[in-house]
Point group: D2
Chain length 133, copies 4
């Protein structure tokens, strides 16, 4: 299991007229979570793209428990629970201190620049084997 | 069952460096779908807010099948399949012509300005009774 | 002088906790204005990109007079006042009915896919000659 | 003169199909710059709002010199050059290391919750006097 933590501070631009962070903005925060996880594992996403890979979101789910407010400092906890084969699943928790604000997950698969599904890059496969043994 | 159709044209601002519409932007499109549905039923959301109600998103799910591209004209088909009691569920399909690009759903519940769950506004209840008999 | 009108309805996602449309969202609205103008002149921007051209924003200015509110239907009036040589300047007015909410302008220049400045595409030049005589 | 520095890392969500950060996203970055400046001066914007003040953007200008790319770590340098009387002007520079990517400025004025122009909050006035002497 790989766990990563990233911090975001809620921007004014991310609030809506309900006075809270707009629910759609959690998706970019999840994205920050997973790119931080990849970077920490020596697999920066920008480099994967330069090597010809893309990792689009196939599906996303988010559950909102409590609102995030402007200027809140949030922690995005991203977890890869299982060794990915073709599909990669990531789970997210959004916290304000100890308080759980939202949960979610995304599913991904590698594609090439012609939008065709491909096997994960060798570096990715090697690193996953190391981690999940 | 209530069905509503709304059109959006993909903005340049909504694309990402993959050359497609960023997956997070489907959530504002779902929002356009449901506010169009409410407006068509004589229940504009802006009015519900003025009456002291709010209808936050409790959860959202989206599945992406094919990418939407810049300048595409998309149809958001929003469906309310069942008469809502306390929870309101809406289903979405995002189409480019006949082609299905994405599906999703959201769940909502009415709250007041103190963020407490409340019964739906009387107009809403009356209209739902009319529609679902 | 070329004038074009486009309509946008303010999305919930575009509001902020001040209860009004976030000032940054006027830039995507200006973008809708100029792409509508180009489309109406037979020069859809998507096609210009396919031909190898890009038209980035070099500078932007916006002045906000009155707030736009959620669900407002706005008209973006885009004007090209002078025949563009290398630089293209567009002026914008954002209206709610007769009421002027904001003004702005952008400046652009054509570049190629290597980010080098290039002369405008021949179709563009020909159309501008027709229009500005 | 007050100077403040804030860091942002370009999000995937902030890129567009040109492969660079969408020009509109510099406005939220400017906003991060000025809220960081206010926080560092002991005047967090969230607190000013709780005290009944708002500080909307009256105008904004941005000039783009070089594109910012996905995953770039940018520094937003925000400067208040003159003691604000009723209008507050802030200048921004967006840097990647030593390289200047963009410049801009915004103008603001305090309003109350009824959207009427008001004098700046006493704490703000006192702090500005201290700083600009």
């Amino acid at each position: 299991m790989i766990v990563s933590r990233a911090e975001v501070r809620v921007r004014y631009a991310e609030t809506d007229m309900m006075g809270i962070a707009y629910h759609g903005n959690y998706l970019p925060w999840f994205e920050i979570g997973r790119t931080t996880l990849l970077r920490e594992q020596g697999l920066p996403y920008a480099e994967l793209e330069r090597m010809g890979y893309r990792l689009p979101v196939l599906q996303v789910r988010a559950k909102y428990r409590r609102p995030a407010l402007y200027d809140d400092v949030l922690t995005i906890v991203t977890t890869m629970k299982e060794q990915p084969i073709l599909r990669i699943r990531l789970d997210y928790r959004v916290l304000r201190g100890e308080e759980l604000l939202a949960t979610g997950h995304t599913e991904h698969a590698f594609i090439n620049h012609e939008n065709q599904p491909v096997r994960p890059p060798p570096q990715f496969v090697a690193r996953m084997k190391e981690l999940f043994g």
